[in-house]
């Protein structure tokens, strides 16, 4: 149970970082919508679960937040990537690609030996 949620949290964190890299500073609601859209609505998350993840990333210094004003003049908290966040994203992307590549080899039809 907790293993699964750890994996999920790690993945979610990666998605958050990627979203912020792509779109720049964004509020929590925006991030949630974006993740849902990008996943092609395959992923249906409770928006509430996003916030502890955001907080953790902020505590670890990968993102920072400040209050700003939204398009329709609403006060909202905006999150943006820090330099450490960018580095972490690059690292995580590499490691993710490696993992998927390894797994892909396992699932690919056996070739020689």
């Amino acid at each position: 149970m907790s293993d699964k949620s750890d994996v999920w949290q790690g993945t979610l964190a990666l998605m958050v970082l990627k979203t912020l890299e792509a779109l720049g500073p964004l509020h929590g609601y925006g991030i949630a919508r974006r993740i849902e859209q990008t996943s092609g609505d395959l992923l249906s998350i409770n928006y509430g679960t996003l916030y502890p993840s955001l907080l953790k990333l902020e505590q670890e210094g990968y993102i920072s937040s400040e209050w700003g004003t939204s398009d329709n003049n609403r006060k909202a908290k905006y999150y943006k990537l820090t330099r450490a966040g960018r580095r972490q994203l690059a690292r995580a992307t590499r490691s993710w690609e490696q993992t998927t590549e390894i797994l892909a080899r396992f699932f690919a039809p056996a070739q020689e030996s």
Partner: protein, 888 residues
């Protein structure tokens, strides 16, 4: 990566504070999130209500989100702990009286334990204030199974120079001093030490230099001294220019060459002399008895620093091969002498044993007291938990885990324990200060360096923690193991024995504990009472003693005799003085030693096997001044001087031991060595106490001071008026004869009370805790009985409605309490029989199984607990059946 995690934790620690702000901020963020979502939903064409509903569903519960956020924000475990502690505090504050009693009884237990521990810490655990103290050992001089502390100086030198197991072997000796500086005369204690002493111990001077091997070359040629830090501070006002100044010690001038560092008090735990002199000056310090060349005088204490990697057994073997060489070289003196390697310190094993035994008894007493406080605490928590049974049941049925509830109950007991620990520590601090403040009337630089150090603090924390957990856990576990349905329905079970095993156990324990403590206290009281009637062999009332050491002022034998005679003559003519005499050792003096006795016609084969007897040297008039009864023969007179035949007075025990059934008058013996001149017995005195109080009479010999001079003597005078006033007058007389003579004086009564001090302390501690225990046990029994009765009100009502008499009800309800008490008494009696064996040493004249004490204490306990049982039982008989039956 690790660093990031650390940063995360730090942020969480920060999030732990400023709770309100962060909470508000997150509420705003969520609110804004919802609003944006609702607006989007409205744009998508939903009705306002539906838009809101969908947004909330998608969020997944506002409260839950907030809770998850909170968890990530701060430190949930600690927050829960704080919550529990707060809750515990509130619950404790609700019943301030009971809480106070619990905390105070815990504080008493913990405080007493801490104070005693600090004593043990001083005696056993604290390292010596020297470099690598674990490498130090003391050497003991064993001959024929008897272990001596000191070696002859020539033997020491041979051991030092021939061994290859010690990095250094040092020799030292205590020396009484009469020091004059700046016009003040003081009696102090010092050390004479070998030249390698300071270097071997790794101690260097804070001012000037320490004594070195260069100061220990030619006897009499190095008049230098090193002051202890305390001496420098207190007697010389921390004079920075002290180096090079001279002081007069024992009539000779010495140059101060250094000041020892603060905290260095030599190599003994219990003594702190103030000056160090080179061993080469021994003859000048101990005027008239030089022993540096004497292989037959054993005065040097020896300590060694083992070479790295050398074990005790190896060192002992190496030393004993040297001892064999010395035996061959000096067979007369060194026959059979062997070396034993022992822990550092000249405190003899017997003395250390006695001290430890005393500490042991006290430790057990205070451990019992703590245990008692704990059972009390457990009782209290149990009662509290029973009151809260319903609340706990509600929480358990609402889904609280048992662990969570137990933790919450534990928090409460931990709070009590922490409070008790804190107050206990303060109590211990106060007790220790009190103990250090006691000025013992002993002529020795006794070092009572009790203090609360980190070991003591650690000890206090640990026992507080242990009490809190142990005695909080049991009730908590028992309370949470409840049948939810009955608990929620608030049903009273009939009889109610099932769940009360813990409570019954606690009562039994309390009764047993208080019985053991009371028996201990009772025995000590009996012993004190016995000590009042003990046959002292003299009368300490209205007598005083004035001690002066003529050797320290450089008096030779003739001048010394002259001084003794002049002082005695002056004192005898003082108004109010009935009689006066001079003696070298007064009872009950620990310096009393036993020396071998050689009866004419009963020579032993080896000196080692000679029987021994105590001895002192007295002047005419001494026996009269002490009111020691002369049973047979005559007292010494002025005519028994050096030109007269050698004479002696013995006590009855001596006569019984050596001439059973014969008239001892006229018999002859010698003492000390077989070659000493024979003495003729001219008188017999009653038995008495000599070296401290003991049960059996020891053989004892008096010799005339006029035939065997001693320079270290005590004048004893008996008065029919105020002895305190006489003290001042005699001081004045002594000043007139020699203004520089340092004297110490006191009432004989004071000295006697000193030797009973350990017994007094033990009796009051044991008795005090015993009474406390009794009170606690009585309260406990009363509490348990009242609860049992109120639980059985319904049952009693039915019984009475069916025709049970008041006496039947009384019997029914009292049976339980009586049973518990009796079980406790039986356990307590067997415990007391076992544990009081440890106290034997302190019980003069009373058996550790003194039946009177046991019976009286057991009867007292049974009586008290019967009263505690009777009150609730009596109340039960007053129950009106109609009320009781309705009572649910």
């Amino acid at each position: 990566m690790r660093l990031r995690q650390l940063r995360g934790w730090l942020a969480r620690v920060a999030g732990f504070f400023n709770y309100e702000n962060r909470e508000r901020e997150f509420a705003q963020e969520l609110e804004c999130h919802l609003q944006m979502h609702i607006e989007d939903n409205l744009r998508a064409g939903l009705t306002p209500e539906e838009a809101r509903r969908q947004a909330l569903i998608k969020m997944g519960g506002v409260a839950q989100t907030k809770e998850n956020h909170r968890r990530q924000r701060g430190l949930p475990l600690i927050e829960i702990l704080i919550q529990d502690l707060r809750y515990g505090l509130r619950m404790l504050a609700k019943r301030p009286g009971i809480t106070l009693i619990a905390v105070l009884s815990l504080a008493l237990g913990i405080g007493a334990n801490t104070a005693i521990f600090s004593l043990v810490n001083t005696i056993m655990l604290r390292p010596l204030p020297v470099e690598n103290p674990e490498q130090l050992v003391s050497l003991r001089n064993e001959v024929g199974g008897k272990v001596g502390m000191a070696f002859s100086y020539p033997n020491y030198k041979d051991f030092r120079d021939r061994n290859d197991v010690f990095a250094a072997l040092i020799g030292y000796r205590f020396a009484p001093l009469s020091v004059s500086h700046d016009g003040i005369n003081e009696k102090l204690w010092g050390y004479v030490v070998t030249g390698n002493y300071f270097e071997a111990l790794g101690v260097s001077a804070v001012l000037g230099r320490a004594i070195s091997t260069d100061d220990d070359r030619l006897p009499g040629a190095h008049p230098v001294t090193v002051l202890s830090y305390k001496c420098w501070q207190q007697r010389f006002g921390s004079d920075q220019s002290i180096i090079g100044k001279s002081i007069i010690a024992n009539g000779r001038s010495f140059t101060v060459i250094g000041v020892a560092p603060q905290g260095f008090f030599g190599t003994e735990f219990i003594a702190a002399p103030e000056l160090w002199f080179p061993m080469s000056m021994q003859g000048e310090i101990e005027m008239g008895s030089p022993w540096l060349d004497r292989r037959d005088v054993e005065q040097t204490y020896v300590q060694g620093r083992l070479k790295p990697g050398v074990g005790v057994a190896q060192a002992q073997a190496a030393l004993n091969s040297i001892a064999l060489q010395l035996e061959r070289e000096f067979p007369d003196i060194n026959e059979g002498k062997r070396v034993v390697v022992a822990p550092p310190g000249i405190m003899s094993d017997a003395m250390r044993g006695a001290l430890l035994n005393f500490a042991e008894v006290l430790m057990i007493v205070v451990a019992f007291a703590l245990l008692l406080a704990c059972t009390n605490l457990a009782n209290l928590l149990l009662a509290r938990a029973t009151e809260r049974r319903k609340e706990i049941a509600v929480r358990l049925s609402l889904g609280a885990s048992r662990r969570r509830v137990v933790l919450q109950l534990l928090a409460e007991s931990m709070l009590l324990a922490a409070g008790g620990g804190l107050i206990g520590l303060m109590l211990a601090w106060w007790l220790v200060r009190l103990a250090v403040g006691i000025k013992l009337p002993i002529d020795f630089p006794l070092l009572i360096d009790l203090h609360i150090d980190y070991r003591v603090l650690l000890f206090t924390c640990l026992i507080s923690l242990a009490t809190g957990v142990l005695f909080g856990l049991l009730p908590a576990l028992q309370t949470t193991k409840i049948d939810l349905i009955t608990a929620l329905k608030d049903e009273r079970s009939f009889g109610g024995h099932r769940r009360s095993w813990l409570k019954s156990g606690l009562i039994v324990l309390q009764v047993a504990l208080s019985l053991v403590l009371l028996v201990g206290g009772g025995l000590m009281l009996r012993a004190l009472e016995q000590a009042q009637t003990i046959k002292l062999g003299f009368d300490p009332q209205n007598a005083i003693e004035v001690t002066f050491d003529l050797r320290l002022q450089g008096y030779d034998n003739d001048r010394g005799r002259e001084f003794q005679k002049r002082l005695l003559d002056r004192v005898r003519t003082l108004p109010g003085v009935e009689s006066a005499g001079i003696v070298d050792l007064t009872p009950v003096d620990l310096h009393f030693g036993r020396s071998p006795v050689f009866i004419e016609g009963q020579m032993p084969e080896r000196i080692i096997n000679a029987p021994r007897a105590m001895a002192s040297r007295i002047s005419p008039g001494y026996l009269q001044a002490m009111r020691t009864r002369l049973i047979d023969g005559r007292d010494f007179s002025e005519r028994d001087d050096e030109s007269a035949p050698r004479v002696a007075i013995i006590n009855e025990a001596f006569a019984r031991r050596f001439w059973p059934g014969e008239n001892p008058i006229g018999k002859r013996f010698s003492q000390g060595s077989a070659q000493s001149p024979l003495m003729e017995v001219v008188g017999v005195v009653e038995d008495g106490m000599y070296a401290g109080l003991s049960d059996d009479a020891q053989p004892y010999v008096c010799r005339p001071l006029l035939q065997s001079y001693s320079g270290a003597t005590t004048l004893v005078a008996r008065t029919d008026s105020d002895p305190q006033k006489l003290l001042a007058v005699i001081r004045n007389e002594s000043q007139q004869i020699d203004p520089r003579m340092p004297i110490t004086s006191r009432l004989l009564i004071e000295k006697m009370s000193m030797s009973l001090l350990p017994a007094r302390i033990a009796a009051s501690v044991l008795g005090g805790f015993g009474l406390l225990a009794l009170a606690l046990a009585a309260i406990g029994i009363y509490g348990v009985m009242s609860q049992a009765v109120s639980r059985r009100t319904h049952e009693i009502g039915i019984r009475m409605a069916l025709g049970a008499q008041a006496s039947d009800v009384l019997k029914l309800t009292m049976r339980q309490g009586t049973m518990l008490t009796l079980v406790g008494v039986v356990i307590g009696l067997s415990g007391a029989l076992a544990l009081t064996q440890l106290m034997k040493r302190f019980l003069f004249g009373v058996s550790a199984t003194d039946p009177l004490t046991y019976i009286a204490v057991a009867a007292l306990l049974v009586a008290v607990s019967l009263v505690a049982c009777y009150l609730p039982a009596w109340r039960a008989t007053k129950i009106d059946p109609t009320v009781a039956l309705r009572y649910q």
